[in-house]
Symmetry: C2
Subunit: 249 residues, 2 copies
DNA sequence: CGTTCCCTTGAGACCGCTCAAAGACCGTGG
DNA sequence: CCACGGTCTTTGAGCGGTCTCAAGGGAACG
């Protein structure tokens, strides 16, 4: 069905809509290099598995459209969402180059991913320094956002964590042009938020309501509206990060 | 003093003691390449700052000897330790290649670090594919251990977190030959552990005692003894990771 | 021998948890 | 069109894990 159809209408890198975006401005790799690296596209439906937690990863992905998330689980079922992937995010590298994965990746919406062969990475590293550099840049930068997530989980209170997460996601989506005014379509359920924040579902719900009552956000079914961005940032104690452009693989 | 003296006795890469270790076996970069990349050594005393939280990082480091840790702080002083660096660990890349740092690095013991110029990284990427590949490998692998830390903070209980952290550190040190039997010299104080685990100092102390009472560990002044490794791993729900060799820059 | 740093202990408060159940919304089928 | 089941959100009640505050004890060091 959807996934089969999309194989035939694969987006050529030259027509990649992401390349137009300012966030990726000025540091784009030669289209032909990327195109040569790319072996196909993967289409996944909401709730679909992109990478199994125990699997050995043989591919690398760039999200072309849609939302996904990376997670780990404990034997007894406790799940922790590590981060969310939006268009332009590069996935699969984390699995320490060729060992088993250790984390799963699941789609939240209908998603399309560009697929690259892991075992060709070496070849492309050798032939294109820019690509090597960019992959490293992306890996290093993802670490940065994990650092922030660790700070959140370790030292922020429930309401601060939520404020940070919502602001972070909104800001990231804004850079990708996915927002309208102060409004963002967020596909995850409260249980996803809870599993991201290290909180229980019930407490997440109650804390969300506190944020609504103080008019910092609105959050109906699946759309987030930021009513008071400054209040949110202050609460989350966001240290303004210069939003530099980033590479796109 | 110490730091001046050490400039004169810099370890040539050819005599790097780390290269002997099995953990780094079989995937070592040509000594001459590393040696050309290395511009000096940095010696730091316990409590000394390796990288300031607000600074712009211009160097990359490999820990040659000693313990250090990476941390972030919130304005009001709450500190979160992100991870610990032991010999062979590569530092400074996280600062998303040339932006401001966002985290600090501090030495726990007398430490010696090999220093590399960040702005030459590109040059070496271009001239040595293996080095580029290894740097990326290290970045990806560090992400892996941050994933685990996120799982801990988000979903493990206090006692599980401690069990995991102690086992993780012990296992890592064991790979480096820093343990004697079941015993490890751990330079951090309980306040460091608390700031790593996202717990208060008091609760860390009380939980530590529970682990001692059930004879899983001993922890006197600064030495950790693992009495019952299996119990620890079971409590922490460690999924046995194949301990592959890793690159050394 | 006083100061300082660290570890330990106790007491009480609060944040976030679990359990349980009631709305709300939606698609499906009778 | 309504009944029904499913998924998700919301509420309430009570428990407990972790926190803060406060103080005491031990070891190292000048």
């Amino acid at each position: 069905m959807a996934s089969t159809a999309s194989q035939n209408i694969a987006t050529p890198c030259a027509k990649c809509p992401l390349r137009e975006l300012p966030v990726f401005g000025g540091r784009l790799i030669d289209v032909n290099v990327i195109q040569a690296f790319k072996i196909g596209e993967l289409t996944v439906a909401p709730g679909g598995t992109i990478l199994l937690e125990q699997a050995r990863a043989s591919h690398l992905f760039t999200v072309l459209s849609g939302w996904a998330f990376r997670y780990k689980t404990l034997e007894d079922g406790r799940r922790q969402i590590i981060n969310y992937a939006l268009p332009g995010d590069f996935l699969g590298l984390q699995s320490s180059m060729s060992e088993t994965l250790g984390h799963g990746i699941e789609a939240l919406t209908d998603s399309v991913l560009c697929v690259f062969p892991r075992d060709k990475l070496w070849t492309f590293f050798a032939s294109d320094t820019q690509l090597a550099y960019d992959v490293t840049w992306l890996a290093a930068n993802q670490e940065r956002s994990l650092d922030e997530q660790i700070l959140s989980l370790g030292r922020r209170t429930a309401i601060e964590r939520i404020a940070y997460l919502l602001w972070y996601l909104f800001d990231k989506a804004r850079g990708l042009g996915m927002t309208k005014r102060n409004q963002l379509d967020m596909p995850m359920r409260q249980s996803h938020l809870a599993d991201t924040l290290g909180l229980s579902l019930v407490h997440t719900n109650k804390t969300l309501q506190r944020l609504r009552k103080e008019r910092s956000i609105e959050l109906d079914d699946r759309t987030l509206r930021i009513i008071n961005e400054d209040a949110l940032k202050k609460l989350a104690r966001v240290d303004d990060v210069e939003n530099a452009t980033r590479p796109l693989i």
